[in-house]
């Protein structure tokens, strides 16, 4: 399971496939009823909890479930484009694949998307394993060279790229025995307009604290780091001067002259009116921030109260079937 493929095929992956796999995995995991410290709120590709804490984990911790399914798409010449995916039931211990279900699904998808073929299969996990080869070979009667799409559900905040890898199978001769092994291939992400909108929507659902997504935040971060650097430089000069005063460092008049001229540069304006205006603007900005925080907080509170009333108020409005509009 290594190196890069030499088949010369270019792969294009659609985000729909990634979202599908992630959704399948999250659903199965939450239905397993894991203890609350390990479950998380369900959302699409972004937040799956890291279950693989092998260092002194709890005794009742279950291994994260693996999910399986098929990927379908189009192959035109040397370009393979993976459009969609569907789920399959596969038991790795008995290696039993539900063939009839697979065929039925294929038929259904053929009716709607006549150009799509079964290109391969997907699963979740951190790395491709030996046992995966059996599933791979099982699919070989549908497609002579299936693909294996692997999604790693562990969340790694330091990781910058998608935890998705595509493997192909190649026949290599190892120790004189020809064997099929998995080799990695590179891929690009290709989006349709509808997918772009939904991915955008999902990305904005959970504004995490770490990302400086907006322009304002980026600008403020820039200013913040500049001020921090200025502060540290001033500290250095200050320490130097203190040392000179104590006598640890020999006095150098040229340096002292430079420091003095630097200090005389600021503050640029020193007058009553300037102070007034500065404080007034400072106060105004603070008040606007306060107002923004207030609005944010009230809106969260409002949603919370609504949810609470829906969940716990016994005599809330009866839910009826609303008319189809």
């Amino acid at each position: 399971m290594a190196s890069s493929s030499s088949s010369g095929l270019t792969f294009k992956l659609h985000p729909l496939v990634i979202v599908n796999i992630s959704d399948h995995y999250t659903r199965v995991k939450s239905q397993l009823n894991l203890p609350p410290s390990l479950t998380s709120t369900s959302s699409a590709a972004t937040s799956n909890n890291n279950n693989n804490n092998s260092n002194g984990g709890e005794n009742n911790q279950q291994k994260p479930p693996r999910v399986y399914g098929c990927v379908i798409g189009v192959q035109r010449g040397r370009t393979v484009e993976i459009f969609n995916s569907f789920e399959l039931i596969y038991d790795p211990s008995t290696r039993s694949l539900d063939r009839s279900f697979l065929e039925k699904k294929q038929e259904l998808y053929k009716k709607v998307f006549p150009h799509f073929y079964v290109l391969g299969w997907y699963s979740t996990g951190s790395d491709a394993q030996e046992s995966d080869m059996h599933f791979h070979k099982a699919l070989m009667d549908i497609n002579e060279s299936p693909l294996y799409v692997l999604l790693n559900p562990a969340i790694n905040p330091a990781q910058k790229d998608l935890p998705v890898t595509i493997y192909e199978s190649e026949l290599h001769v190892i120790d004189g025995v020809p064997q099929l092994i998995f080799v990695r291939s590179s891929y690009t992400i290709e989006t349709v307009e509808a997918e772009r909108i939904s991915v955008d929507h999902v990305a904005h659902l959970k504004p995490s604290g770490g990302s400086a997504a907006t322009q304002l935040a980026a600008q403020l971060t820039g200013i913040h780091s500049a001020i921090k650097m200025l502060n540290s430089r001033i500290r250095v000069v200050h320490q130097y001067l203190v040392g000179m005063q104590k006598g640890d460092i020999p006095c150098e008049s040229s340096l002292l002259r430079q420091v003095s001229s630097l200090l005389r540069r600021l503050p640029a304006i020193e007058s009553e009116k300037f102070q007034d205006d500065l404080l007034m603007e400072y106060n105004d900005t603070l008040l606007i921030t306060y107002l923004a925080m207030f609005t944010n907080c009230s809106s969260t509170m409002n949603e919370l109260v609504d949810k609470f009333n829906t969940a716990y108020d016994r005599h809330s409005r009866r839910g009826g079937r609303t008319a189809f509009i």
């Binding site: 239905q31 007034m280 008040l287 969260t300 009333n309 716990y312 108020d313 189809f324």
Partner: protein, 424 residues
């Protein structure tokens, strides 16, 4: 008696490390029955234990001792023992058996009340509260007991110090109702009407499945304090108040609602006749003092209404409009209000004219910057906590089940096989 002796040696032996204390707790739980059986003879054994080292064992013994009925003679000796125990016990050991600690402190409060010296109980109870709560945001059952003692001993300032803290976790809903109700009364006593209003509002809008007497009494005081502080009463409860409260509270406090109505009309004579007519009803609820304050606050409301109509007014005119007798009284009222910061005005003594001005705060000072900054920080922590709670409740199966039933249907598929329950 052998079992008791054995228990004593075990306590002394197993009180050193945390794991020992846990095993000691199991031993004590099993021996609890036998301790209660011999409750009358346990008192001399208490001397053999040291409350600061063997807090858990001492607590079990103490709880068994005080299980019997409280009499005046035993009360004075017990009060001393319990007070000493509370001040010297170890918080971690106590938190292993919180209900026993709470029952001991409640007996303590009963005994102190029996001896009619609530002041003796205030300081030990404060220490007990601090030792029991796991953080300052945690409300324990001892909080309302402590506030009750403060109220009866009339030392409101100590009570106020506890009320300053924000509460985020509550053990029992009844604690919250009582805590906020007593807290409201303490704030009324100290004339901090704003905080009193906040606390009483909490009682009235707290989640409750059936109406309870604490909420009714709190609502009566809430009406009165709202009239004193704001000069008006909002007739409907906010939407986060429970449905039970919204439907029933008003009908249970009818005479107070009438009082609020006649207050709004602004005629002092009507208000006073109404108060006279219902004097004994207000008296039976112990609200007479508050009602009198409401009557005296109506003058303030009328003067405040004048600031919205006139720029300058003579003292004589003020006295006439507000139905006061002499301009001197009007001057006193206006002066008091300027001092309290309720209106902004200048009185010209020469010709007896009052000029109403606007709020002179210019929002240009450094103190204002600090004030706003602090408020922003507080708001940020609150916002974080709210987001966490919002996420928690979004995953609550009770909520998801009900939300699923009422979701919007835009497609033919949505009408079939509505998931009535999420199989979680």
């Amino acid at each position: 008696m052998n079992s008791v002796e054995g228990l004593l040696t075990q306590i002394r032996g197993l009180s050193s490390t945390a794991s020992d204390v846990l095993s000691l707790q199991n031993v004590l739980k099993q021996a609890d029955e036998s301790l209660h059986a011999e409750s009358t003879r346990l008192l001399p054994f208490l001397d053999q234990l040291d409350p600061s080292k063997h807090s858990l064992g001492y607590l079990y013994f103490l709880e068994a001792c005080t299980a019997g009925p409280v009499t005046t003679e035993s009360a004075s000796s017990f009060v001393l023992i319990i007070a000493r125990f509370i001040s010297s016990c170890v918080a971690e050991q106590i938190r292993l058996a919180p209900d026993k600690f709470i029952s001991v402190c409640k007996r303590f409060k009963d005994q102190v009340l029996l001896l009619e010296e609530p002041l003796r109980g205030v300081a030990p109870m404060l220490t007990a509260v601090r030792k029991l709560q796991s953080s300052t945001e945690h409300l324990t059952t001892l909080h309302p007991e402590f506030l009750l003692l403060c109220l009866l001993a009339k030392c409101y300032k100590t009570g106020l110090s506890i009320l300053e803290e924000d509460i985020f976790e509550v053990d029992q809903p009844r604690d919250l109702y009582l805590y906020c109700y007593y807290g409201g009364m303490i704030c009324i006593g100290q004339k901090c009407f704003r905080k009193a209003l906040e606390l009483l509002h909490n009682v009235v809008t707290a989640p409750m499945s059936t109406i309870n007497a604490i909420a009714v009494e709190a609502y009566k005081k809430y009406i009165l304090v709202s009239l004193i502080h704001h000069g008006q009463l909002s007739t409907s409860l906010p939407k986060y108040a429970s449905g039970v409260a919204q439907r029933n509270l008003k009908s249970l406090c009818l005479s107070y609602m009438e009082l609020a109505n006649s207050y709004n009309n602004g005629k002092i004579a009507d208000l006073e006749t109404y108060v006279q007519a219902n004097m004994e009803k207000f008296g039976s609820d112990n609200n007479l003092g508050l009602v009198k304050q409401v009557v005296s606050s109506i003058y303030k409301r009328n003067i405040q209404r004048l600031t919205q109509t006139y720029l300058t007014l003579s003292l004589q005119d003020i006295a006439n409009t507000v139905q006061l007798n002499r301009p001197k009284e009007a001057e006193m009222h206006v002066l008091q209000m300027i001092q309290d910061g309720e209106i902004y005005a200048t009185i010209n003594q020469k010709d007896g004219m009052v000029r109403f001005v606007e709020d002179p705060e210019l929002y240009k000072t450094c103190e204002m910057i600090e004030h706003i900054d602090l408020s922003i920080q507080r708001l940020m922590t609150l916002s974080n906590k709210l987001t966490v709670m919002d996420e928690l409740i979004s995953c609550d199966p009770l909520y998801l089940g009900k939300a699923g039933r009422e979701r919007q249907r835009f497609d033919f598929d949505d009408f079939d096989s509505v998931p009535q329950r999420f199989n979680i």
